[in-house]
Symmetry: D2
Subunit: 291 residues, 4 copies
Amino acid sequence: MILATPSAPLVDRQAKPGGSVFSVGGVEIGGPEVIVFAGPCAVESEAQIIAAARAVKAGGARILRGGAFKPRTSPYSFQGLKDEGLGLLVLARAETGLPVVTEVMDARHLEKVVACADILQIGSRNMQNFTLLEEVGQCRTPVLLKRGMSATLAEYIHAAEHVMRGGNERVILCERGIRTFEPSTRNTLDLNAVPMLKRLTHLPVIVDPSHGTGLAWMVPRLACAAIAAGADGLLIEVHGDPSSALSDGEQALTFDQFARMMPEAAAVAAAVGRRIGAVIDMDLRGTERAS
Amino acid sequence: MILATPSAPLVDRQAKPGGSVFSVGGVEIGGPEVIVFAGPCAVESEAQIIAAARAVKAGGARILRGGAFKPRTSPYSFQGLKDEGLGLLVLARAETGLPVVTEVMDARHLEKVVACADILQIGSRNMQNFTLLEEVGQCRTPVLLKRGMSATLAEYIHAAEHVMRGGNERVILCERGIRTFEPSTRNTLDLNAVPMLKRLTHLPVIVDPSHGTGLAWMVPRLACAAIAAGADGLLIEVHGDPSSALSDGEQALTFDQFARMMPEAAAVAAAVGRRIGAVIDMDLRGTERAS
Amino acid sequence: MILATPSAPLVDRQAKPGGSVFSVGGVEIGGPEVIVFAGPCAVESEAQIIAAARAVKAGGARILRGGAFKPRTSPYSFQGLKDEGLGLLVLARAETGLPVVTEVMDARHLEKVVACADILQIGSRNMQNFTLLEEVGQCRTPVLLKRGMSATLAEYIHAAEHVMRGGNERVILCERGIRTFEPSTRNTLDLNAVPMLKRLTHLPVIVDPSHGTGLAWMVPRLACAAIAAGADGLLIEVHGDPSSALSDGEQALTFDQFARMMPEAAAVAAAVGRRIGAVIDMDLRGTERAS
Amino acid sequence: MILATPSAPLVDRQAKPGGSVFSVGGVEIGGPEVIVFAGPCAVESEAQIIAAARAVKAGGARILRGGAFKPRTSPYSFQGLKDEGLGLLVLARAETGLPVVTEVMDARHLEKVVACADILQIGSRNMQNFTLLEEVGQCRTPVLLKRGMSATLAEYIHAAEHVMRGGNERVILCERGIRTFEPSTRNTLDLNAVPMLKRLTHLPVIVDPSHGTGLAWMVPRLACAAIAAGADGLLIEVHGDPSSALSDGEQALTFDQFARMMPEAAAVAAAVGRRIGAVIDMDLRGTERAS
């Protein structure tokens, strides 16, 4: 029941008892606001990503997510638009002002991903790809490090230490479901991990209920649960037409479902003494309309 | 990703699309109120259970929990006060008016447990003790059926069907953490199970964050998360002096911790359109004081 | 990596460094011979169990297995022939001379099961049904205690301690596969458990590759592996017509498959310095034919 | 229970019903001989690797293993001798004639690892490092692809497909234990995987009982079990002084333990119709001595 964290001194809570708070493109992560990262699993076309970026911004998301390089179990599945996808993310950011998070799978792509992304995502399958961790540790772009599918929290914390040791202090942790015997959901979302990671480390901790459940209808409930458990943010898959998505359509919310989820999430955030973009966006939208 | 529930017709949601709501000693389970079941793991003495019953009632609990017969991994651990424990639960109910839930481990004890308990608990280790399930199915006392440590939801649903087939329609389901590879918590609380069980069955679903985490400091956060996920109730271990508890002290809240948790839980309940005992109790306590 | 076995003094290896060896109906369990327990999952009819008993005896099995009381996930599945099944097992024993092992699920059936069985099986789902463990601990009939689906070895050892504390010293352990994330086999057979249980306890350890794989074609390979890992016996499901079996047909060997497996198993046993019934039976059959 | 292998046409058994057999430095992998890969976890010094290479050759190993680049959970653990380690492996090969397998963790090291290694190892943590899989797929050096810690067999098969799609047809699969709830062993060795992988694919399948158990005393028993289950080879950690090893000392055999294990393994191999280096080496050593 004990984690040997003294061996990960850089991420250890004791190194920063008040917790890490840092700003990405004007969005403060780790502070009182629960930050919503939302967007499609993969960038599929200009129309798709622009529409999604607008919809998630309207709903209250602060960061746009979208995959250009996609790790896929089968080599015959859609592997992402790659360079073209990066370009479309830049376009979507220009259009909406939302900072962008996208996955980097290969150290050799790092330069071009860094040129386009505001946050570098390390996917679950690469949580212990130590050479990649070291490379992103050399960057000054913040890193969203997803928990491995069967990584213990001790291993996860050490993976973050690999990144921080390179000098990159802006690491975001993300619980995204673990592999268990239960077949009715894609993964088992481990919300125990949220308070445990916040106690053991000083890093912001977000939750991905899309991968954590694999089922769109279940996402809003687990998103609210994650906030109540103390999460600093959410990572939500949203797609204009999930039934035609090139990957993970089963777990993506439609624009409407996302819009309906956000006020619920905001209410739960308020109940635990935090706030969420939706509330503020309502004001902002009011202001915009007024101006 | 699909559960073969047509094979469990009695618990299937389709049998009662609006969901089961039933009353136990005046407490409505499955309705808009999130019901808190609280008390010590084991009944240890008259003083201990009376104090705990008063404390949890004051905090807003609706049902008193306490074990008289304790299933223990080692035959040399404290096995509960047995018959004496049942008597003390009756005393605590008389003192506080709280209905009582306690575990039955053996069909041969059933008659005396039924005589004392308002709800019969079937523990995780007995989730597939089919003879016991059939016996409690013959009773008319409501049953709190805990999920087995590594039971799939399909198996769990079928275990409930075993009970209902005997004619006992008042079954409460309880997610209490599953066994995974993660060692930092006692179990992994599977909150995905809450919306899934509510979609697949019409039964009330409660959550036990005490066993689900094994760590008292983490219980309030996961209790709030469970409510946000849609739970109809909570099962919380509370002890006057956890450090001296004869079992499970590591996961028991003190009276103070419980009292502090309840308003937080009530706020989250309100955020998701429900209410919790604490709020109402405040009024009641006012009335009592006035009279 | 350490098991707290001093807390299970009766099963601890130190209590009997040479290991427990005991005789059941003339069959020595825990000795140099690898003992094969074989037969159908469930007793279905006189013709079925007699044919199976003859076939497994001819193949070299020493103990006949067959379920009369069947624990089933669904209450609507075949639950066994119950009392009638017990009678048919007695008949099959009379016909073949093979001692019989059958499951007892309910303490109230114990008297009649003891009257018919040479070994009492406690199934995986009842590994922590402590009242049942205590009851069979009071008996003097040997007990085959199967490992729970997700029981740690420490929990398993303590379950055996529950039985032995009642005074019943003849307990046989059985690894039968554990629950993991892997979906292509019914369970994951944990052969690490064999040397670990033999090091930590003095009890005979057998392996059930039928439940451990769930796939008949795979059984012979894992049966051989179990012997090489040091198992003292095998528990094998064999059925005259698996495709029409009322339970677990997918994992049952036909008579022919069983007959073909046994010489392979015997060769592996010889390679690790042991022997298996098959070899001796060949001689015996020769003798019988000659007489 | 069914794996969608038609989607991995290159590794599918149907593509080569007789199974893949290929030669590495004169050692035939996938043929009747069970091939033993042995050596230390990490190359630590010239003296250490040369001594280990001689010892494992004398014991009957056919391939020398040794890590130069070590993936480690903590960034503060020994990370391997890197380039120097590669040089020492070349030396050990020159000294003993044993082909060498070593891990490649980073596509940017590939050229130099290929220059030194006879077989490229992809470690468990990189099983779904798809860019690395594609890179080694471009090579013509055989690949030893270890199963991920919680990879399903379907995912594992697809990872092999990623390699083969690049044109590299010489892929060796390796079961090395999976992550489960059981804490008494480092991993749970999944020997069900051996017959399943051999049925679904045409690739050679070896087993690593060192990682699969994490305990040196248990390795010989599981090595024998792996052979009985049908493994085409073994991967065994051997170290001149395990107590001073810089990594994984708990699971390494001493030279003596390795030498004692090999005749047992050879006997089991013979029992299942195969042979193992030990037997032949005895002859060869005779021949060599004679010449």
